[in-house]
């Protein structure tokens, strides 16, 4: 082989690449690596370059000359576009090749085109070599993440519709344009129209669009088949006239009332000019429920007893499903759940304060763990405690007993409202967790001074504390003290970092998911243990090191990360990765709850759709990235 000849040809590649983003900003070594490995292929117009059926792509392609079109294949739209044209310098398929899965798009040359191709393994290697290229691919995949959220929205829109309230205007319930015929139409033709459109109710409307009658499926037997009605006669002779109509701004409740009053199953919906807009059936109204954020909130605040709060707790779950269906992000969703659960807990505490006199006692009810981080999912058990100040005039034992009795009642009421008692007894009614300010400080201090495994485990639960009720100042002072301690104890931080690195993201060497080898759960990944926790633990170490008071993982990442000089876009990508995993957990728990089994965190990657699998893999790669940062920082 002649090296100067190869160099000349590679230089032509480099000259081309340098004219196109993201290669124009690529590091010289990485660009050379790429230029050496690109082979050129020719695709005549209308030929296929890559199809979903080809399996995992063997090559990453860069259009050199010509035009390539990405086309959606299959019934379900995964991305927001149905076709997308790629020109010189543009690469594909970034998502599929990063994930090692078949492409969801088909790629076709729309004119005579030359493409560079890079072997898949070299594409992955290039990302390692080139931070700028990796960032480019990450951003691209992040844009897929948004699309996945939209897809999620579609998936749940069916349920979302069912969950709208009875106050929803009928205009919001009409799902398709009405099937209507003229009154003069022969009955046979009208019935054919019904069959063709697959509707149970046929509206009859004049030329002006105003409904004059209606014929339903149940009328056919009684009025047409049994009496032997002549099918050549006009539909007007056999329809129900006048039809029951309601204005489009009437509520679902009005429609239900109208149906019940007149014993009909269909209502015609008309606009202000009485023009036919749609048909509402009894079935459209069946599943409507009465759940909304404000209703739940006021329901909680006015609840007089635990029974009322139990209802509110069920409503919170329903609302969470609605919000998930509306495509809300995991960060906002968990915050909503968290806010409502906080309100619920506060109300339970208030109700119990009627029976337990704690007047004059300085104390606060603390939430630990995921609740402390505002990251509760729907199958979280309770983790709580009490911090109080012992007044000089008081004896400790009687006061503590009063607090413990109060705590026991609160714990039981919480359990009644769907927050299971903590198996590890991390509850305020545990005498070890109902402590004075000085006792908590002593406890925290001993874990920091002697970071043995149990101390570290405790730190991961208790250092994420947050005040749910009571004296905020007390907790704030403790936080300040805690951060100054951890920031000044590198040995503790290193031990915490090592602890956080105990579990690696379940990405295999051959870039597939590593699933659980537990025979009871074949092919699953525990998204709590092998997903969310990786981010949570790493973010905690960063926050304790950088003195960040926030307890939520995303905020810790953003605040602590920027204090130690990590680029904002990198931090956002990490937070996105974390939220995506949380979203999958929530979705999984919802679906399971619907099927009657208890929600867990075990997700089968094979059951996920193509796009989610890709994004999940990217999320794990973000976890690996943040772990790498800890490894480097603490030389582990």
């Amino acid at each position: 082989m002649d090296n100067t000849a190869a160099d000349t040809l590679i230089r032509t590649h480099l000259d081309f690449l340098r004219r196109h983003a993201p290669f124009d900003r690529m590091e010289a070594d990485a660009l050379r690596f790429l230029g050496e490995r690109l082979a050129t292929a020719f695709y005549p117009a209308e030929s296929e370059i890559l199809m979903p059926g080809d399996g995992a792509p063997n090559f990453f392609y860069i259009v050199y000359r010509g035009k390539v079109q990405a086309r959606q294949t299959g019934g379900v739209a995964v991305t927001e576009y149905s076709t997308l044209t790629l020109g010189p310098g543009e690469g594909f398929p970034i998502g599929a090749i990063s994930a090692g899965r078949p492409s969801t798009n088909g790629y076709l040359a729309v004119e005579d085109s030359y493409c560079f191709q890079l072997p898949a393994a070299d594409f992955l290697k290039l990302q390692e070599l080139s931070p700028s290229f990796q960032l480019f691919c990450t951003r691209y995949i992040a844009s897929l993440l948004n699309q996945s959220r939209e897809q999620l929205q579609v998936q749940f829109s069916q349920r979302a519709a069912e969950q709208q309230t009875m106050t929803t205007p009928l205009s919001g319930l009409i799902s398709k344009s009405p099937v209507a015929v003229a009154p003069g139409l022969a009955t046979r033709a009208a019935l054919e129209r019904m069959v063709e459109a697959g509707v149970g109710c046929l509206a009859v409307a004049g030329d002006d669009g105003k409904p004059v009658g209606v014929l339903t499926q149940s009328d056919i037997l009684k009025r047409i088949v049994l009496p032997g009605f002549d099918l050549t006669r006009p539909i007007a002779d056999v329809m129900t006239a006048p039809p029951h109509t309601l204005k489009a701004n009437a509520s679902a409740y009005d429609a239900a009332l109208e149906m019940a009053t007149h014993g009909v199953r269909h209502i015609l919906v008309v606009d202000a000019e009485d023009t036919l807009k749609g048909v509402i059936s009894e079935r459209d109204l069946f599943a409507l429920q009465r759940i909304g954020l404000r209703q739940i909130r006021s329901g909680i605040e006015s609840a007089a007893d635990v029974q009322a709060l139990q209802r509110a707790s069920r409503d919170i779950r329903q609302l969470a499903l609605n919000l998930l269906a509306q495509g809300i992000g995991a960060e906002q969703l968990t915050q909503f759940i968290s806010a409502l659960n906080d309100a619920l807990t506060r109300r339970i505490i208030e109700l119990n304060l009627d029976r337990h006199d704690l007047y004059g006692v300085e104390y606060a009810w603390l939430a630990f763990g995921s609740e402390g981080r505002h990251e509760q999912t729907l199958s979280t058990d309770q983790d709580n405690g009490i911090i109080y100040v012992l007044p000089e005039w008081a004896d400790k034992e009687p006061l503590k007993l009063r607090l413990l009795e109060f705590a026991r009642d609160v714990n039981n009421d919480l359990a009644a409202c769907g927050f299971p008692l903590c198996e590890g007894n991390i509850m305020a009614s545990n005498p070890d967790l109902c402590l004075t300010f000085d006792e908590w400080r002593e406890k925290f201090g001993s874990w920091i001074r002697e970071p043995h495994p149990e101390a570290l485990l405790n730190a991961t639960i208790f250092f994420d504390y947050r005040v749910l009720y009571g004296d905020e100042k007390l907790a704030h002072t403790l936080r300040h003290w805690l951060l100054s301690m951890t920031g000044g104890t590198p040995a503790f931080l290193k031990a915490m970092a090592a602890n956080a690195l105990d579990v690696s993201p379940p990405l295999g060497k051959i870039r597939d998911f590593v699933t659980d080898d537990d025979p009871r759960h074949p092919g699953t990944i525990d998204l709590k243990k092998f997903g969310a926790r990786l981010f949570v633990d790493a973010a905690r170490v960063l926050s304790l090191r950088a003195g960040v008071e926030a307890t939520s993982t995303a905020q810790r990442l953003r605040q602590a990360g920027s204090r130690i000089g990590m680029p904002a876009e990198e931090l956002s990508a990490m937070a996105d990765g974390f939220h995506f995993i949380q979203l999958l957990r929530l979705r999984h728990q919802h679906l399971d709850t619907d099927h009657g089994s208890s929600g867990d965190n075990r997700v089968k990657p094979d059951d996920l759709n193509e796009l989610d699998r890709r994004i999940l893999k990217e999320a794990f790669r973000q976890a690996r990235k943040i772990q790498l940062r800890l490894k480097l920082d603490y030389q582990i």
Binding site: M1, D2, A5, A6, L9, T40, F42, Y114
Partner: protein, 211 residues
């Protein structure tokens, strides 16, 4: 061994031992199966750089060659040499790079002629290579684009192929190689799926147009 024997000392200029062993190595390369598809075949696209000869005509100054292997053009599989003071070594190296693959040129009367003369003058014999001439094949493969024989520029323009430096034999070979990729795509569509079929078609007057 047939053509190598013609390259042995006595039948032409004396060959030094290193060159002789190179030629023996080339002779030992298995002959490729030309009935396999284009996309299982290695083609070598060759282009020449020439200058005027003392007694008139053109003299070979340099060669550039690019392989199309399994339909792909890979920068590592390329060759260039100036004949300079060791023309025999350069020609032997070119033969070694070709490795008995079918050779593609644009304008065979000129390029094939020049190369064969250089082989004969420097190695003492003309190696029996399979030659494909895109100047002849293209009008038959793409009659709707350009009818009849045309200059290379016209074909490169028709397919938007960039001509980076027409004085550089290697970069010219690169352009011809991209044209050959275009030719292979259409040949396959026309049922000429292998180098053997393309060679046969080239020698069939019935198939050829405009020649």
């Amino acid at each position: 061994m047939n053509w190598l024997s013609r390259l042995l000392p006595g039948s032409g200029p004396a060959l030094d031992p290193a060159l002789r062993s190179t030629l023996e190595a080339i002779a030992a390369i298995p002959t490729p199966d030309l009935s396999r598809s284009h996309y299982e075949t290695r083609y070598v696209v060759v282009n020449t750089e020439t200058g005027p000869m003392d007694g008139g005509g053109q003299r070979l100054l340099a060669v550039g060659a690019v392989a199309i292997n399994k339909g792909l053009l890979h920068p590592g599989d390329a060759f260039q040499a100036r004949l300079g003071s060791a023309p025999a070594g350069a020609m032997a190296a070119l033969l070694k790079f070709i490795a008995k693959a079918p050779v593609v040129v644009y304008n065979a009367p000129f390029n094939q002629g020049t190369l064969e003369r250089a082989f004969e003058n420097n190695l003492g014999s003309i190696p029996p290579l399979d030659w494909l001439d895109l100047m002849v094949l293209m009008p038959s493969l793409y009659p709707e684009r350009i009818a009849g024989q045309a200059r290379m520029d016209a074909w490169l323009g028709a397919f938007g192929i960039e001509r980076l430096d027409h004085r550089d034999a290697l970069l010219e070979a690169l352009a011809v190689a991209q044209l050959h990729q275009v030719a292979l795509a259409r040949a396959k569509q026309q049922g000429l799926g292998s180098p053997r079929e393309l060679l046969d078609a080239q020698s069939s007057r019935k198939w050829l147009r405009g020649s």
